[in-house]
């Protein structure tokens, strides 16, 4: 019977089989789609996510991750709670406030345990050597912004009154211009950003870090929508693990990371400024290579919640800590 097949026909069948065997693994499981929302529009510290996409870490974890830029952590927390997204990268202080208001999200990882909130000025133009040095200088702050909250907590923690400070209300974008223009002496804002901006103009910054001045607020981490978390716990865990890889790779070679994000999403500024910004944030965070990266402690959460409560940010009844956060999904 075999003799009836032509020699050419046998070769064709064999080739087809070979191609099929090679192609099969590539046409394996479809990737799980995950909708991730960031805290803000693209900024230097978002590089790890793009690295995880670019180097295939998400794909290897079986995930098809879409990254959407945000409009502030408060809004991101709200969008996450509404279910418009599955996972968010955001400031966990805002996430805690959202939970306190009854939002259905939960923090699944926290890597920046010290808030980036600070007062930043230009060396030679202002002295920021302690809480008392803030009296009598013009401080730019965004009303209703996150720095307004940290400002309030700072004054309470240091025996000052808000009225002791000369606060100039400014739009978030206008703060930078005002600092360089000299219309204010210091900004109330995130130190990694402003330090990098000041250095990029060839000047030296001075700052007063609120985390060192009695403000136990926290910084960036991850949160998930509760319904999504209940239905897809594996996905969340895999996402965090793959993202950690991205963070590790980014910290390992910040220059390459900055080049990637600049090329991919039209990030403005120099590579140096991008690296500077990232380094500033890393200084306030757990190193990505650390096995405890992302883990949250009862102590820091208790402190955070009581601080927010006394600042009037958590209305209503006390919720158990378990509603706010979980370490179950942090990568080991």
């Amino acid at each position: 019977m075999i003799g009836h097949f032509s020699a050419l026909g046998t070769r064709v069948v064999a080739a087809a089989l070979a191609i099929g065997l090679v192609a099969a693994p590539a046409a394996a499981q479809p990737l799980t789609p995950v909708k991730v929302v960031l805290d803000w529009a693209w900024l230097p510290y978002h590089a790890p996510f793009l690295i995880a996409q670019d180097k295939g870490y998400y794909k290897e974890a079986g995930l098809d991750v879409t990254l959407e830029q945000g409009r502030g952590s408060a809004t991101t927390a709200l969008l996450l709670s509404q279910g418009g997204f599955d996972i968010a990268h955001l400031n966990i202080t805002n996430a805690a406030q959202m939970v306190g208001k009854g939002g259905s999200i939960k923090t699944v990882g926290l890597y920046q345990h010290k808030t980036a909130a600070a007062f930043i000025g230009i060396k030679g133009k202002v002295k920021l050597d302690g809480p008392q040095s803030l009296k009598g200088i013009k401080i730019g702050s965004t009303p209703g912004g996150s720095d307004a909250l940290s400002l309030r907590i700072f004054t309470t923690a240091n025996g000052l009154k808000l009225t002791d400070l000369n606060i100039v209300a400014l739009d978030a974008n206008a703060k930078t211009a005002a600092l360089f223009g000299g219309t204010i002496d210091a900004v109330s804002g995130d130190s990694p950003a402003f330090n990098a901006y000041v250095r990029a103009t060839g000047q030296e910054p001075v700052d007063l870090q609120l985390a060192n001045a009695g403000v136990p607020l926290v910084g960036f981490g991850f949160a998930a929508n509760n319904a999504y978390l209940a239905k897809n716990p594996q996905v969340v865990a895999k996402f965090l693990a793959a993202t950690k890889r991205g963070f590790i790779e980014s910290a390992r070679d910040l220059k390459a990371a900055c080049q990637l994000i600049q090329a991919k999403v039209h990030l403005a500024g120099t590579i140096e400024r991008c690296i500077d910004y990232n380094q500033g944030l890393l200084a306030l965070s757990t190193p990505p290579t650390d096995p405890t990266w992302g883990q949250q402690s009862t102590e820091e959460w208790t402190k955070l919640i009581s601080t927010l409560k006394s600042a009037g940010e958590l209305p209503g009844d006390d919720k158990p800590l378990g509603t706010y956060y979980t370490n179950d999904f942090v990568p080991k």
């Binding site: 529009a41 959407e68 409009r71 211009a177 360089f180 403005a268």
Partner: protein, 259 residues
């Protein structure tokens, strides 16, 4: 003819030269106020990026405008045709128009999410009112004797609307649409500030936040030039639609002998 091009150009050139001179003389840092030369350089360097973002903004503006005009004409006709509809609908329209859109913008984001749909909502919010108001005024301005005349000819209400009221209203409607055409891109950009991660508005937010002021200026320049082109296009369409209207006729009495 030369005069109508030469003097505006000269004036523009003088203005730009002053700006350039001021920036150089006072050594103003580029992130505070870029010189025109820097802005032009940025436009050239980032040409394709700027154009793709412009296209997104204009797409949202265009789609929103189409919806706005369609809804506006329908609502205007309904209001002009029925006192009851007028009394019940107009208060809502006035409120919707008076609310500062930027204030309720975050709500749009929460309700509709990021993207084109939110932007289009913004565009409609910005542009529906002039269309409706001008449509109502136009439809109500029909000559009562002409209405009597066609009624005498046996015209049905639909015929009256189509043959008398609507053509008579066209000049007013065109004015309303021209206003909407200039407001639509603005609405799209403001929508992008809040609820879109693409387009010139988004670009502006990032550029200003990143202190890339020359890119911000470049975006504003590109946007403005396009806005002027849109206006010209709207006038061109109006000329085609209203060839008979007094506004389109040459008024010899007002012509300057020197032009």
């Amino acid at each position: 003819m030369i005069g109508s091009v030469f003097w505006p150009l000269l004036s523009g050139a003088v203005g730009l030269a002053l700006w350039e001179g001021l920036v150089r003389a006072f050594n103003i840092p580029v992130f505070l106020l870029p010189a025109p030369s820097q802005v032009v350089l940025t436009i050239v360097q980032q040409w394709s990026y700027l154009l793709t973002q412009l296209a997104i903004t204009m797409l949202a503006a265009g789609l929103g405008l189409v919806i706005s005009v369609a809804l506006g004409l329908a609502a205007g006709a309904a209001i002009a045709g029925s006192r009851l509809v007028d009394r019940m609908l107009t208060p809502w329209l006035v409120i919707a128009h008076a609310i500062p859109k930027v204030v309720i913008a975050p709500l749009f984001l929460v309700w509709f999410g990021f993207g084109l749909q939110s932007e289009m909502f913004f565009v409609v919010a910005f542009t529906f009112f002039p269309v409706i108001v001008n449509t109502v005024t136009g439809l109500k301005s029909a000559d009562p004797e002409q209405l009597l005349m066609v009624r005498a000819m046996g015209a049905t209400p639909a015929q009256v609307l189509r043959k008398i009221q609507f053509p008579n209203a066209l000049a007013s409607i065109c004015a309303g649409i021209k206003l909407a055409v200039t407001l639509a891109p603005v609405g799209a950009v403001i929508g992008e500030f809040v609820a879109s991660n693409a387009g010139l508005g988004h670009l502006l937010i990032r550029a200003v936040g990143d202190m890339d002021t020359s890119l911000a200026f470049a975006a504003v320049t590109v946007f403005s030039v396009f806005g002027v082109l849109l206006w010209r296009a709207a006038e061109w369409v109006e000329r085609r639609v209203l060839p008979w209207h007094p506004s389109q006729r040459e008024t010899f009495l007002l012509r300057d002998a020197n032009t």
